[in-house]
Amino acid sequence: MKKGVMRPGHVQIRVMDMAAAVRHYRDIVGLVETHRDASGRVYLKGWTESDKFSVVLRETDRPGLDFFGFKVVSDAVLDNLAAELKAYGCQVEEIPAGELDDCGRRIRFDSPTGHDFELYAEKTRTGKWGVAQVNPEAWPRDLKGMKVSRLDHCLLYGGDLDGTLDLFTSVLGFELAEQVMDGDFRVAQFLTCSMKEHDIAFIRNADDGKLHHVAFHLDSWDEVLRAADIISMEDVPLDMGPTRHGLTHGQVIYFFDPSGNRNEVFSGGDYFYPDQEVVTWTADKLGKAIYYHSRELNDRFLSVLT
């Protein structure tokens, strides 16, 4: 049941060298730099996103995910969900407006898989980048690199998948769209708050709080191949692809940023309506679920995390 969580809104990624990270996310991935704040964080967005930023880079001594945030439909919903999260037993912290420039107050909460999430209702709206709000052209002509259109989702690793599933479905109104089952044991879960086949996903792992990848959207398989070309031209460390996943059926390529955080760019993927039944892949078909063409698992894809 929908609880007013609208969509993924922002991610704060830890990087070890800001200049290298900006070159990667802006010039190679093709996000648009929109802001730098007094603490040195760099704010970026995909060109189709209407709010001012969706990706925040923070320089520190280790990579990984600081937090992943969802935008909710109103300030009243933000208050309701904050109360529900507290009642559910989450550690809830209210972060005042302006801690991220151009963003309203945020409700930060922890999860059983050891990740920090946020909800917020307000962010400065600047419109799609490079096209007008009235009579817009199809796309801006001065985009760089892979020209990703938007921040799409994250895949996170942690232990208590059942706990995080319950939190996201019963408190936040997400639905379970796809899962990987080893008998009765769920090893992966893909959750949605929209018509996309996932807005956030989790894989079971001994260590909590880990980031597997941050994903950005492209329009077509042709653009995924073009991204692969850019990965070669720029000598970016490739993880896997271009290929198709069995899970979600997206067309994907994975690579690493200069701090070891994995990125995905992808196109396609199934849609989700709330009257659909959960799609299940069985653990004995995990190779095909991840690499639909080669059908063979690669250890690095499962074990390399930040």
Partner: protein
């Protein structure tokens, strides 16, 4: 260290040795220890992100000169760094080097 002179280009190579597998191989000057290990064909160091973040390529240097780039503090603490622990993808040998490919 060895020099090959071709035209005006001097190619500097460093001999690196893994004391666990007893394999020695050559590393170009400016090349990472991990890249040289992969090129040697000996699967003695695990390959992950190749950018100092995941910790899979962690080894311990036991002798020789080298430089390191940014390495995740989640995988190499300051104390470990002083004891020669490094991420091979972020380690540039600057002369003959001996290392231990297992850190567990």
């Amino acid at each position: 260290m060895a020099f090959w002179i071709c035209g005006s280009l001097a190619h500097i190579e460093h001999l690196v040795t893994d004391l666990v597998s007893k394999q020695s191989f050559s590393c170009h000057d400016g090349e990472s220890l991990l890249s040289a290990a992969v090129r040697s064909g000996h699967p003695i160091i695990r390959v992950g992100c190749r950018t100092g973040g995941c910790g899979l390529c962690k080894v311990r240097i036991l002798g020789g000169d080298y430089q390191t780039g940014k390495m995740s503090r989640s995988h190499v603490s300051e104390a470990e760094e002083l004891q020669g622990y490094v991420l091979a993808c972020r380690t540039l040998p600057a002369g003959a080097l001996e290392f231990h490919s297992r850190t567990d």
